[in-house]
Assembly symmetry: C2
Homo-oligomer: 294 residues x 2
Amino acid sequence: MNKKKQQIIEAAQILFIKKGFSVTSIQDILDAANISKGTFYNYFSSKTECLMAILSFIKEEVIYNRQQLSIGKSASDKHVFVKQIAARFHIDKKHNLMALFASLTSTDTAHQELKEFLNQQYLKEVCWMAERICEVFGEDRRKQSYDDAVTCFGTIHLTSKVLMDLGKTEVPIEETIYFSLQKIEQTGGQQPFLKEDYFLPYQQKKNTEDKNIKKQLQQVLIDLEPNVKKLKNKKLAYYQKFLLDQLTSDTPDLLLMESVISSYQNAVQDTDIEDKGRYIQILFMQLIEEEKGV
Amino acid sequence: MNKKKQQIIEAAQILFIKKGFSVTSIQDILDAANISKGTFYNYFSSKTECLMAILSFIKEEVIYNRQQLSIGKSASDKHVFVKQIAARFHIDKKHNLMALFASLTSTDTAHQELKEFLNQQYLKEVCWMAERICEVFGEDRRKQSYDDAVTCFGTIHLTSKVLMDLGKTEVPIEETIYFSLQKIEQTGGQQPFLKEDYFLPYQQKKNTEDKNIKKQLQQVLIDLEPNVKKLKNKKLAYYQKFLLDQLTSDTPDLLLMESVISSYQNAVQDTDIEDKGRYIQILFMQLIEEEKGV
DNA sequence: GCATTTATTGGACTACAGGTATAAAATAGT
DNA sequence: ACTATTTTATACCTGTAGTCCAATAAATGC
């Protein structure tokens, strides 16, 4: 990640939180980030794009957080599930975007791209939740898992919103989540209302085979090849080669890889592929999870 | 309702629906309504206030609609309940405000007043729903009625949103509502999560005694006295007097009153108290409902 | 009918927004 | 040290919400 871009994003994020999106002018961002207008438009084509970049970061943060929570825990652990759901709310709250995520479906046609971006995000969230519900409450609920996900998600959202508007800020989100899960646990048996195939386009690629993850990892590394070259960091180049070699090998040394990936991430810190480094780490953790499962 | 104000509201409403709120400039409204800037700011202090006026109208429309639906039907009729819930969605949809009602809790602090206005509206909606749930599913659910209301409301909202974003526009909202009600019917027995007293400030004044409604009606008529005088309509003045007399009487002639109120409303058409006329009619219908119940 | 009050007009004006364009200065790559 | 890119600072464009005000039109009181 470019230093200037980072600077802009950090300043903008603080301002969006403190003042709100539409009341924060570009000039405000320029002043706060100590950059000029030209620079801003060099990195973002609009204010909206800047917000979307911030939201993407937050999304990654959520995914990473949930991944971390699941490590070493059973997929059917309900309390892990609750914590994972809460992760979005905590991180959204941290970024003061609680509302924005669920809403911003205003009457405006102005922020169309932003709207679609958010719609996509929460449809994916519904899919994720449906999948996790199957894992936690059993495969036999799959048929109605989307019903459950929507019920649960909707209840959580409205309940937390209501509590917030009533000024009951002391109620932790986890309690609301347990309350909502209780509701779906009690229900079942009827015909599913929301069919699974509605959501097919939004389902994340399932990690059915570790081969796929391996391929994903490989692809990411290959995509990064030119960037890595450009950085002219000998160590990094070596790590790059090593990781690719291990991935094509039938007997990859996972422990060694873990260490190397850690160094890799360190090496790309403060470069424009910093975020990719983190992504690699996430993928690798998924890989390990699966190796353990086998 | 003033003619010019009406003109502005009508034009603005059409534009807000067609183009969206923030993309509609005041100039657009001026052009469409054929009025000047000065006139606009004579009636509204801002564009937001104009939107709020429109939303208030819509709210009245919903209340009126629900009132109409309940006439002659049992308070415990589930299908009436469903239709009443659907009323908000249909009317919101008609005005293309579906989204705005549930959302507009964006990161903006700009539209603070608008946000609070909407928050109040939907908190009242939750209260209304909780009350109706008690009527439909029995008093013994009162303890958990707010839990149910939030679950139901949240599920309806998210489900309809999801269906919309998935392009499944052919599913009628009533189906979604039945689905959501099914969910709350299956649940119950646990400790209530949302306590009734949280919502006290938002609960509408219950019409516990018809005396209260009578008083309300009386008050409205008394408040209108100067306006009625100003209109210099002999018939209207006579109606006004007649209605007030009947209301103080112990044996009001309800059928006659109904007829007179109808004429009353006719007489105030196109005046600045037109909306009050409708309000009187609504109050009167509530009065009749209660008289029947006794 | 006339005088007074009130509503309406329409444009000038302010202050600010998002975004473009550009020449000069700073920085980095080789 | 030379080149290429990035960054800066500013001027500029178009459009916005909202204020102000003198001139005009319409309603109202007498």
